[in-house]
């Protein structure tokens, strides 16, 4: 029987036998990926399921007794004002962070690709922020933004932009921006390196053809670079969105979610509710909601982005 014939039969029984044949034929492949699959299930699948289970129970951290409460935690969450404030704060945190990292990363990558002096030095130098532990970067930025001793205030005062030192991280209106800046600083190198790799894979003769077709630099960027980089940008921003969404250490180190919870995101709140306040069940419910948000986002994002072709 040819392969085509084998796969074209449709009745149930032969489908089963097809599956068996398929398994037999690929037994070695399945065996080889089995350890990795089991490992992933253990470290990824199990915690997800356990979090979901936990969200259905009242489960104080200082007790071993769990009480089944069904969807009560979820009802509590969607009926609370805090949840919607957290969504807004998380939304702006992710949006500003990812936008900043993407734009800055793209800008740096485009320039690092060009024929500039000291290109190798800059390529390495731009990776440094990514190699520093996030918490340390966060501490550095806390100092930079310090109202009395920080460099930022010193520079702004010197330039005459401000008349007296401002406490960015203590101001509920702008504290989140102070944290976003640190996050962008940390996350930009990753974007720049990924974009640079993407840029280097674009054939040079496309730019040459475009130049001969009359395309100025901006046209080349708009009609060659961006479309050619689309899939790379898609993957990088998707990853960056997920990482920024779940980012904890920068916010926690710089502000601990304050002042008056204006820099708290869903993840900070989960930590506060679940681990600080010891309400594991409610924390788990928040986690499940966060997980579903990300899942939904990833699905919609990939669908929208992979739909249709490009147009001029």
């Amino acid at each position: 029987m040819s392969l085509a014939e084998e796969y074209s039969t449709t009745d149930g029984e032969s489908r089963l036998s097809q599956s068996v044949t398929h398994l037999k034929r690929n037994r070695r492949a399945y065996l080889l990926i089995a350890p990795a699959a089991v490992f992933l299930l253990a470290v990824v699948g199990y915690p997800i399921l356990e979090t979901f289970r936990l969200s259905l129970y009242r489960s104080p951290a200082d007790s071993t007794i769990e009480t089944f409460v069904g969807l009560q935690h979820y009802a509590e969450i969607v009926n609370s004002d805090i949840f919607y404030r957290l969504l807004w704060q998380t939304g702006r945190w992710v949006l500003a962070g990812v936008a900043g990292k993407t734009l800055l990363g793209l800008l740096i990558a485009v320039h690092l690709k060009g024929d500039i002096k000291g290109r190798k030095f800059f390529r390495t130098a731009f990776l440094i922020p990514w190699g520093i532990p996030y918490a340390i970067s966060a501490v550095v930025f806390r100092w930079i933004e310090h109202p009395q001793f920080g460099y930022l205030n010193a520079v702004l005062l010197k330039l005459g932009v401000i008349e007296q030192g401002i406490g960015i991280l203590g101001n509920p209106d702008i504290a989140w921006l102070g944290v976003v800046v640190a996050d962008i600083w940390i996350g930009t190198p990753f974007m720049a390196i990924i974009f640079l790799a993407g840029l280097q894979s674009i054939p040079q003769d496309l730019y040459e053809a475009a130049a001969i077709d009359g395309a100025e630099r901006w046209h080349q960027f708009r009609y060659i670079t961006l479309p050619q980089l689309k899939s790379v940008i898609l993957m990088a921003t998707l990853l960056s969105t997920i990482w920024t969404f779940v980012s904890f250490d920068v916010i926690w180190t710089m502000t601990g979610g304050g002042p008056i919870s204006t820099t708290a995101t869903l993840v900070i709140h989960i930590y506060q509710v679940g681990l600080q306040n010891g309400n594991l069940g409610l924390g788990a419910a928040y986690s499940v909601i966060g997980f579903l948000f990300l899942l939904l986002f990833a699905i919609v994002y990939l669908r929208v982005y992979t739909r249709g072709g490009d147009e001029l």
């Binding site: 054939p203 003769d205 496309l206 040459e208 053809a209 475009a210 130049a211 001969i212 077709d213 009359g214 395309a215 100025e216 046209h219 009609y223 060659i224 479309p227 050619q228 689309k230 072709g309 490009d310 147009e311 001029l312």
Partner: protein, 365 residues
Amino acid sequence: MSKVSLSNVSKVYDDTILAVEEVDLTVEDGEFVVVVGPSGCGKSTTLRMVAGLETVSAGEISIGDTVVNDVRPQDRNIAMVFQSYALYPHMTVRENMSFGLRLAGEPAAEIEPRVEDAAEMLEISELLDDLPKQLSGGQQQRVALGRAIVRDPEVFLMDEPLSNLDAKLRTQMRTEIQRIQENLGVTTVYVTHDQTEAMTMADRIVILNDGKLQQVDPPERCYDEPNNKFVAGFIGSPSMNFFEVTVTETNSGATFESPSFEFTLDVDIPSGEYTLGVRPEDLTPDRESGYIDTVVDVVEPVGSDNFLYLKTARGSSDVVARVESEYRPEVRDEITLGFETDDMHLFDTDGARVPVNELQITDSA
């Protein structure tokens, strides 16, 4: 349409590598010039300088009456076909072809018929809404040509446009490019390493080696009267046979001596060291009046002819002869090869041609 002039053009990379050396060339309005030479001879660099994709280290390039050394590619009003085609992968054929016109701000109502016309000329009308990746190599090649044609440029530049196609398609596209160029009458500079393309397509061939101009002439002249040993060996397939000879003037003509042969021809050449060149197709098996005794090594039938790979009986030098397909000797057969004296080429020790008119042939053998 414009003429293209290169005056003393050189290209130096990194202050040390001389890629193109003092090239002087004028491509007349509407002319089809093919630049040919081995890999690394500077032919693509020369073309890219005309396109503005490489800077000119010294000399001047003009398109029409304008010196374009400092004019950007965007402003040269040229079109180029790349070896890789360089089609924009994310654009349809239509978008690829109209890209330049759209950038130039041409109204859509004008662009559309121009694209349609070019597509019709190239027989790709039904592919206009496909993406490049959906096309075969030959179709992509046509789109690349279409993109060049549609812009109605002053000059066409083509950088080995056929080298990624299979042999049959290449032959077909060769005639097609010639036909299109003839119809449009656009000045064309075409770069290739394939001498068959050069011979069949060009009004004039420009032969480059090591960045230096070797000869600029119509194809038949490059073949019949090569300027030097390099051109003689480069043009023609299989390559010309070369023998280092010592010529001695005698009363009855000139004696040619080499480790492989010795014969006297009824010609008038001053004594000295020369390189004797004879094309494989000019060698004939001729026991009576031949000069070079050889032994057959390999017989290669190619249908229309047979290529004979031979060793000289003395000295064991390689000789190639191209003979009629009916003549099919066995391996190890002994053959004496002869040639007409006006088919022989002589080069001095520097490789320069010793012109035929100086030979003063008194009688052919």
